[in-house]
């Protein structure tokens, strides 16, 4: 039913698409933003290391967002024929993950007291935000499938650049045609390489965050430090989510929508293009969710988890 309605949507596309995106994004904003409250606290006089951890983490996160925006601008300007735009989401995400890595290196000693520890076993899965991680996993599979299909059906453009156009022939009543730009290998390969780099750095950052040493014998320190670790890991997952969802949205709008709206394109290709559009629309609320998680870093509140409800700062 959605696929049947989409051609009409494409004809009226600019205003309706924008309205739909705003609606989806706004819905997520209303649902998620009130939960992003300040959390995590300690008596910073008693734990100066944790105070430094908080300051450094916030600084690195802020700098990473600013640098990420600048990097995106540079990549978009440098990449010709839209390759820069295709790489922009992964570029932004990589910078965010590097920010987490830098923060981990700078705060390595913040929670450690030499000679004192606990026999705790820290594992990555204890710090991953479950819901967000599952959604990002699904996004990765969808984007991989989308790029595989778009690359498989792509052909050379009018100047012979391989994997940059979608060529088709009509059954009757029209000439053969082509749509470009199309995310064939010309765009899909750089995007895939960017995502592989992002996932590798992300795994490194998450592992480093979980392994950062600490004195686990101090319960108060563990409580606060665990919240910081969860925030950092959540930021990495959100950054990956931004790259994947923005990629899907871009493919859906830039490639899928024009093909879907073109009645001359054979039905099978239009159906595929329709799936690209649907995937892009479905990825929009995830994109908003991930941006909120990144910009309002609060450990995902879990009912009854005491560590998430403490307030950071000097006691009153």
């Amino acid at each position: 039913m959605i696929l049947m309605a989409l051609p009409l949507l494409m004809i009226l596309r600019p205003a309706l698409l924008l309205a739909l995106l705003v609606l989806l994004g706004g819905g997520v904003l209303v649902a998620v933003l009130p939960r992003r409250r300040g959390a995590m606290a300690a008596d910073e006089r008693q734990y100066p290391g944790l105070a430094a951890l908080r300051r450094t983490t916030v600084t690195c996160r802020t700098v990473a967002v600013a640098v990420g925006i600048a990097a995106v601008s540079a990549v978009v300007a440098a990449g010709g024929l839209g390759v820069g735009a295709a790489l922009a989401p992964a570029t932004f995400a990589v910078v965010q993950v590097v920010g987490v890595l830098v923060a981990d290196v700078l705060t390595r000693e913040s929670a450690r007291r030499p000679g004192s520890a606990s026999l705790e076993v820290r594992q990555v899965r204890d710090y991953l935000p479950r819901g967000l991680t599952r959604v990002v996993g699904v996004l990765a599979a969808v984007l991989l499938g989308a790029l595989a299909w778009t690359a498989a059906v792509a052909g050379p453009d009018d100047l012979g650049r391989a994997g940059r156009a979608l060529a088709y022939t009509c059954a009757q009543g029209c000439d053969a045609g082509a749509h470009t730009p199309w995310p064939g290998s010309f765009y899909a390969v750089p995007m895939a390489l960017g995502l592989v780099l992002l996932l590798g750095l992300g795994a490194l950052a998450v592992r480093g965050t979980v392994r950062r040493p600490r004195d686990g014998s101090d319960e108060q320190l563990v409580r606060v430090d665990d919240a910081v670790r969860r925030r950092s890991v959540e930021s990495v997952v959100a950054a990956v989510g931004i790259a994947l969802s923005a990629g899907l949205l871009g493919i859906g709008l830039a490639a899928g929508a024009p093909v879907l709206a073109d009645a001359h394109v054979p039905g099978s290709l239009r159906a595929g293009a329709g799936m690209l559009v649907v995937s892009g629309l479905a990825a929009t609320p995830v994109l908003v969710w991930c941006v909120l998680v990144l910009l309002f870093p609060v450990a995902t509140a879990t009912p009854g988890r005491q560590a998430d409800t403490v307030r950071l700062g000097a006691p009153a």
Binding site: G115, A117, S118, P213
Partner: protein, 131 residues
């Protein structure tokens, strides 16, 4: 109960032995039970700020005495054999703790009769046994 471990730089006992003793104590008192996983060598060494070789030797010593079992990929876990013999473990714990304390006190110049008197005072001050 706490799984805290500490390396005392003032203790003449080597760090690996201090760590081994504390882990064995935790097993002997039932705090660490059969099947419980210990942190990886790297994680514990980083947390304590000691060389990985120190923790590795601790785990080797514990494995040699049957307290733990180490498998690549599965980590280091407490074996059932020791944890299920609390009486034996408790006697071994008493021997270990007192032997280490005596070594330290003698190194500080304490005489045997002083140590015995202090031990008697400590036993007299002990909390009531649970019924």
């Amino acid at each position: 109960m706490s799984l805290a471990v500490r390396i005392d730089p003032e203790d003449p006992t080597p760090p690996y032995e201090q760590l081994r003793r504390q882990i064995a104590d935790l097993v002997g008192t039932g705090v660490l039970r059969a099947g419980a996983r210990l942190p990886s060598v790297r994680q514990l060494a980083a947390d304590l700020f000691v060389a990985p070789g120190t923790v590795a030797r601790t785990y080797r010593e514990l494995e040699a005495s049957g307290v733990v079992r180490s498998r690549r990929g599965a980590g280091t876990v407490i074996t059932a054999s020791v944890a299920s013999r609390p009486e034996e473990a408790r006697r071994a714990l008493v021997d270990q703790v007192l032997a280490a304390a005596v070594v330290r006190l003698r190194a500080a110049g304490a005489r045997p009769e002083e140590i015995r008197t202090a031990l008697d005072r400590a036993l007299d001050r002990r909390p009531a046994e649970p019924t």
